[in-house]
Subunit: 307 residues, 2 copies
Amino acid sequence: MTQRLRGVLAPVVTPFRSDYAPDARRFVRHCKWLLAHGCSGLAVFGTNSEANSLSADERMTLLEQLVEGGVPAAQLMPGTGCAALTDSVRLTAHAAKLGCAGVLMLPPFYYKGVPDEGLFRNFSEVIQRVGDARLQLYLYHIPPVAQVPITLGLIERLLAAYPETVAGVKDSSGDWANTKALIDAFARQGFDVFAGSEVFLLRTLRAGGVGCITAGANVNPHGIDRAYRGWQSPGAEALQAGIDEVRRILQAQVSMIPALKACIAHYAADPDWLAVRPPLVELTVEQRATLVSDLLAARFDMPGIAP
Amino acid sequence: MTQRLRGVLAPVVTPFRSDYAPDARRFVRHCKWLLAHGCSGLAVFGTNSEANSLSADERMTLLEQLVEGGVPAAQLMPGTGCAALTDSVRLTAHAAKLGCAGVLMLPPFYYKGVPDEGLFRNFSEVIQRVGDARLQLYLYHIPPVAQVPITLGLIERLLAAYPETVAGVKDSSGDWANTKALIDAFARQGFDVFAGSEVFLLRTLRAGGVGCITAGANVNPHGIDRAYRGWQSPGAEALQAGIDEVRRILQAQVSMIPALKACIAHYAADPDWLAVRPPLVELTVEQRATLVSDLLAARFDMPGIAP
C-alpha cells in the first residue's frame, strides 16, 4: 500500500488538439505544474477531465504517458468508474498495476434508479477481479452529473466487505450535510473524506475530512493549498474567503470545464488550451473576456505557468 | 443503402452467463426467434440490452457473432452511441462495415445540460469520421434514462447537414406530444419516427410514424406485429388493447429488464436467462411468481420459444 493521499487534488483538465485527440505533451506539463504549485495529488480522468468523453484505451495510453513523462504514480488517483463493468475492471487493474496511489470510481451511471445491491455488486466485482492488494478505492459521489448516488448504506456494506481496499470518498453532491454525515459515519475507520469543491475545504477539515478534490485546483492549486495548510491558523477564514472568490468567478461562466481551460489558455498565453471535446463547447470570445477581466480584477495569477 | 426498416423492432435483451460474460449462443437463438415471430428488425445494444454495461469490444464481438450466426445484418440496428466520442465512432464504423441496416445513437450521456451545439458536433463528427455512404443513423431520444434530450432543433440541424444519413428517431420520452411533434415536423422529409413503446404504436402509425422499437417486443413480438399489421383494420383498437395489457404486466415489476428476462426464462424453461449484469439486479422469486401468474392469467404465451 502506498502512502494515502490528502490535501489538495486536481481533477486535471485534459488538453485536446484541434482534431479532439488528447494532447499528452500539454497534459504532462500541466500535471507537473500542478504538483509544483500546491497539489499533493492528481485525480486525472475525473468529471472535469472530460474523462467520460474518452475511450478506455485513450485513458490508459494517457496514464502511461503521464508516468513515462515523470509524473509519479504515487501521486495519481485516476478515475476508473465507467458505465460498463468490464471497462471499470480494465481501467482499475491498469491503474493498480502502474502503482497509482488510488482510483476514484464513479458508479455505473447509465441506468438510473438502480438498487444499492446492484451498485454493491458492481464495486465488489471490480475489487475481486482486479485482485490487487495495493488497490485503494475512493468512491465518487456526484449525483448532479452521474444521477446515481453513493449512499451511506452502500459505503457501510463496501467497508465491511473490503476494509483494506475501500479508502475514501469524493463528495461532489454540493450538500454539506452529506459530507458531514460521511465524515461522522466513517472517518474514524480510516475512511478519507474529500470535499468535491474548495468552498467546503475549511468545514471539511474542521469536521475530520482530509482535503478536497476540486476543479478549482486546476488553476488555483497554490491558493487552495495555502488554505489547506493554514486551516488551523488565525487566518483560516480569510484564506477560505480568498479561494471562494476565485471559485465564484470560474463558476459564473456557463460551464466550468471550458472556463478552466480558458483560464489556463489566458495565463499560459496558449490558445490551444481552449479546445474541449464534444458534447462540450468552448466559451465564446465575450465569455472569455469577462472571465479574464474578473480574474484580473481579483488579482488572480497562475505563477510560473508557461505556454 | 439497404432497405429502410419499419414495423416492430426489439431492443434485444442480452443473455449473460453466471460470470456476467455475454452468452452468444443464447443471444443468436433469441434473435432468430424474434425475427421468426414478428420482428422486422433488431435494435440490439439498446437500453434494454444492458448495452451500456458492455464495453465497446464486447459489443463488437457480439455483433460479429450474430452475423456469423446467421442473423442478417440488413435487419440489424445496433446501438452505437456512447459517452465517449471515440467509442461512438468506432462502434458506428464497425456496424456500417458489417452492412447493418442502421445504427441507433444515444447522445453522449455523461455530461448534463450540454448545449445542442455540442450534441450537433458529436453526431457530426461521428458521421464524418465514419464516412460511409451506407450509414443510416437513427437518433435515440430517451430523456428519462440518458437525461440528455434530442430536441427538434437539433434534429433540424442534423437533417439539413446530413439528409442522406440521418434516417429517423426512436422516441422513448414517454410523451406522446413529443412523438407527434417529431412526426409532424420531419416525417414528410422521409425521417422515420419509431415509438419507443408499443403503447404508442397505433397513435404513431395513424400520425405518420413507421413502427415501434420496444422492450415488449422481446417477449411479445407476435402480438405487437399483429397490431402493427392490423392498424388500419376494424380490430385495430382491440389489438392495441391486447398489447397494452401485456406491457402493463411487464411494467408492474420493479424493473423492466429483469422482468423481460424472467419472462423468457419461464416460457423457455431456461433459468440461465435470469442473469443481469450489475448494476441491475434480477427479480426476486416472489416477483417472478407474480409476473408469471399475471402473464398466465392474461393467457400470454411465447410460441415456439425453446430452452
